[in-house]
């Protein structure tokens, strides 16, 4: 149906794609996987011809016999949305906030002259029903802000399928969603492909997602397709070394020293923590409501122990992290760090704060862009007073995370995402804290970088006797690096136990649901490698 041959792309003289060839067949799912910057999104945008200025495209893109590269911009407009449609990663920004969902789905039909407005609204209703937004709860007159992320992504899908396109391109359609929502959206996409005979090009960084969905897979790296084939065969044989490396990295479990000191008092104790946020008043004299973000949470982290805290977005895990860090007061309950109370309302003494540090998710927002690395990493010294040998200590911390002391004089924008996360870790360990809170610290990283950072974290834990509170929505990562795990839902801990035990035999229904929704590569596909000794 969609056939790409020898597609090459240059943007302002920089080569982006080199001789990409692939086919998407009707009723089939074609998975395109690769790390960030591999050119997978650019391949999709080349098909749509939605390229930035200064782009030069060579090669052929044909769709059901039409040569798309030969069409001019006006003819392309007729193709976009009607014969090839696209779904993007971020459902929160993909919809116009000022227009109703009905209008937005109908717009595709009206723009292409497929139906007059009244008729278009009727079809919009039909399509919203098809994507699982039933009329009784999701009226055409509802606005995007009234919907959750998953529901918005369904609206985007309804818009994309409104004109029954032959090809649907989904660029990381579930990356911004929680695992349970992801499972539902993937199931919806799969049913559209199987039942309506659409061809789906599924672009993702997540190998497990394509393993479960795609009929055929292509692995991209640096603008080239390095390996391509039927999904199961590709996963089993892994002919190209990059495919092997990618698969190994995605299931990487770092070696961790058994440093557990049994019987020692815990580093961190949280007892019955409650955090309320006041809501706005319904009426001028109405009572103020409360939103309980953290609802009676108790936990303990032992010395040298890694504790995972998993849960979906909005479950209160980041609020709990901020409370532990003494940045937000608790309404009820207590937090103790090595026995000393952490109370944000009364102020936390510097010496106590110095025992805990944090690493955030976003390697780009974590640093003041105007400061040099030396100053950024030295920031926690503010708590204990800057020692005379602070530059040596910073250099030492940088070396501990695998960077060079010479990097001290650079600015954060001179580093890649993975390197910045190393700087963030250096900043966290420079004053030798007892506890490091890792708030989605590896979620924004590519799998191969993620494996390196997990390895680094395990290594630092052994060397400095750190305790980790590892907050994540990614169950695979939590399984790889933690000793114990807590499952959080709607502000409460619903299950707690040794990581392996919880993952092997979850007791709570919600944990089972989370595990079932997590996409996984079938284990016998991977086991092949050891038999062949490849």
């Amino acid at each position: 149906m969609l056939s790409i041959r020898d597609l090459s792309l240059e943007i302002a003289g920089t080569p982006i794609l080199h001789g990409v060839s692939l086919d998407v067949a009707p009723g089939k799912v074609f998975g395109l996987v690769g790390e960030s910057g591999s050119g997978k999104s650019m391949t999709a945008l080349s098909v749509m011809r939605l390229l930035p200025q200064g782009a030069r495209l060579r090669g052929r893109v044909s769709l059901g016999g039409t040569e798309l590269t030969a069409l001019d911009e006006r003819q392309m407009c007729a193709v976009r949305g009607a014969r090839v449609a696209m779904i993007f990663q971020e459902p929160m920004t993909a919809l116009n906030p000022l227009r109703t969902i009905g209008e937005q789905v109908a717009e595709t039909l009206v723009v292409h002259g497929a139906a007059p407005r009244g008729e278009a609204m009727r079809i919009a209703r039909e399509k919203l029903d098809r994507v699982g937004l039933a009329a009784d709860r999701f009226d055409l007159g509802r606005y995007p802000f009234e919907l959750s992320g998953g529901q918005r992504q369904r609206v985007c899908i309804a818009m994309a399928i409104a004109l029954r396109p032959a090809i649907l391109i989904a660029d990381e359609p579930t990356t911004a969603l929680d695992v349970t929502t992801q499972a539902q959206i993937l199931a919806l996409l799969e049913s559209l492909v199987r039942e309506e005979g659409m061809g789906l090009m599924l672009i993702t960084h997540d190998l497990a997602v394509v393993a479960g969905m795609a009929d055929e897979v292509a692995v991209m790296r640096e603008g080239r397709i390095v390996e391509r084939g039927p999904t199961e065969t590709l996963f089993r044989t892994r002919r190209h070394p990059y495919t092997r490396a990618l698969l190994a990295a995605s299931s990487h479990v770092p070696k961790r020293a058994a440093l557990r000191s049994a019987g020692a008092p815990p580093v961190l104790e949280v007892e019955g923590a409650v955090r309320d946020y006041p809501l706005g008043r319904g009426a001028v004299f109405g009572a103020r409501g409360h939103f309980r973000a953290v609802d009676g949470v108790s936990l303990a982290v032992g010395r040298g122990e890694s504790v995972g805290l998993v849960g979906e977005s909005g479950c209160g895990k980041s609020t709990l992290a901020r409370a532990i860090l003494g940045l937000e007061p608790l309404q009820v309950g207590a937090i103790r760090l090595e026995g000393a109370p952490v109370d944000a309302a009364r102020g936390v003494p510097g010496a106590l704060r110095a025992k805990m540090q944090v690493v955030f998710q976003d390697p780009f927002g974590s640093f003041n862009p105007r400061h040099r690395v030396a100053r950024l990493v030295a920031e926690p010294f503010h708590l204990v007073g800057r020692p005379p040998d602070w530059r040596d200590r910073v250099a030492e911390a940088l070396q501990a995370v695998g960077l060079k002391p010479a990097d001290m004089e650079k600015f954060p924008h001179e580093f890649s995402g993975g390197q910045r996360q190393r700087i963030a870790i250096a900043r966290a360990i420079v004053i030798r804290p007892r506890l490091v809170i890792l708030d989605e610290a590896v979620s924004a990283l590519d799998v191969s970088i993620r494996a390196q950072i997990l390895e680094l974290l395990a290594d630092l834990q052994g060397r400095f006797g750190l305790s980790y509170l590892f907050i994540s929505h990614d169950l695979a990562v939590v399984r790889a690096i933690t000793d114990r795990v807590l499952v959080m839902r709607a502000g409460r801990i619903v299950e707690e136990g040794p990581t392996e035990a919880v993952f092997a035999a979850p007791r709570h229904g919600y944990t089972r649901q989370l595990l079932a929704a997590t996409p996984r590569i079938p284990e016998d596909w991977l086991a092949e490698e050891t038999r062949h000794g490849a």
């Binding site: 540090q357 944090v358 955030f360 640093f367």
Partner: protein, 273 residues
């Protein structure tokens, strides 16, 4: 080095011409601006007087050069007062966002915004007497809420970033975070706003002088030159045209410079071009 946008180069050049003229006027002007020469009054532009002479026979080019000094001095001090008061207030409001102090500062701003600036300027000069100094004071006060809003707006979006959270984890207080992390990162916003307020300051000074509340004679001022010439527009239009043109070109130059600076410092707008 990034390429400078055309409009910014043009704006910078126009502004530079006037600043240069003002600086040169300290040491040299073609003619003195205080001596009257009734014999050659209202002469049209000629080689001896490139822009002609006014109703007292004074050289208009020399008058404009010295007048630029007044305008620029008033605008600099007014922007200085606005920044000096407004930026700390804006940072303070942002550091206490959602709190009582934020509310007080911002409602105080609204209050100043709600008064017509000319009326207040008239009030100040009515009490303290008309002078360039009082004009500066009035313009400066009305610049304050503008800078407070810009500073607060820029600071609010920064306060949500992870590096601010990291600084809080490092035990830094609001004051220190505001000075160390917030202020340097909103500086470009403030510079751009400063340029725009600078041009508005020149316009305001011209307006106040025009109604007789600004610089007093014999200090030359573009606004007063315009006011004095208006009865003679039909006789010798050049007396009114040149000061008017000076005001328009200087304000235009500064606005272009401000717009250009904003585009140049905003990476999103830069890429769109």
């Amino acid at each position: 080095m990034r390429r400078l946008p055309v409009q910014m180069t043009l704006g910078a050049a126009l502004s530079a011409v006037f600043v240069l003229a003002a600086l040169v006027s300290f040491v040299w002007t073609p003619y003195g601006v205080e001596g009257l020469a009734i014999a050659r009054r209202m002469a049209p532009p000629s080689l001896a007087h490139p822009l002609g002479t006014d109703h007292f026979g004074r050289d208009i080019l020399s008058m404009l050069m010295v007048g630029a000094r007044t305008s620029i001095a008033v605008a600099i001090v007014a922007v200085g007062i606005g920044m000096g008061l407004g930026v700390p207030l804006g940072l303070l409001a942002a550091a206490n966002r959602g709190g009582l102090i934020d509310e007080i500062v911002m409602r105080g701003n609204d209050l100043i915004f709600a008064f017509p600036s000319l009326v207040i300027a008239i009030l100040i000069t009515a009490i303290a007497g008309p002078s360039a100094f009082n004009a500066i004071l009035a313009i400066g006060i009305f610049n304050t809420p503008v800078f407070a809003r810009v500073a607060r707006g820029g600071a609010l979006s920064l306060w949500t970033l992870d590096y601010i959270l990291a600084a809080r984890v490092a035990g830094k207080g609001r004051l220190r975070i505001s000075l160390e992390h917030i202020l340097p990162n909103i500086l470009n916003l403030l510079i751009v706003q400063g340029t725009i307020q600078f041009s508005l300051g020149i316009l305001a000074e011209a307006g106040l002088s025009y109604v007789g509340l600004g610089a007093q004679p014999p200090t030359p001022s573009w606004g007063r030159m315009l006011a004095e010439s208006q009865t003679m527009v039909s006789l010798s239009p050049h007396i009114a045209i040149f000061p008017g043109l000076a005001i328009v070109l200087m304000v235009l130059g500064l606005n272009l410079l401000g717009d250009g600076l904003r585009d140049w410092t905003d990476p999103r707008l830069r890429r769109a071009r």
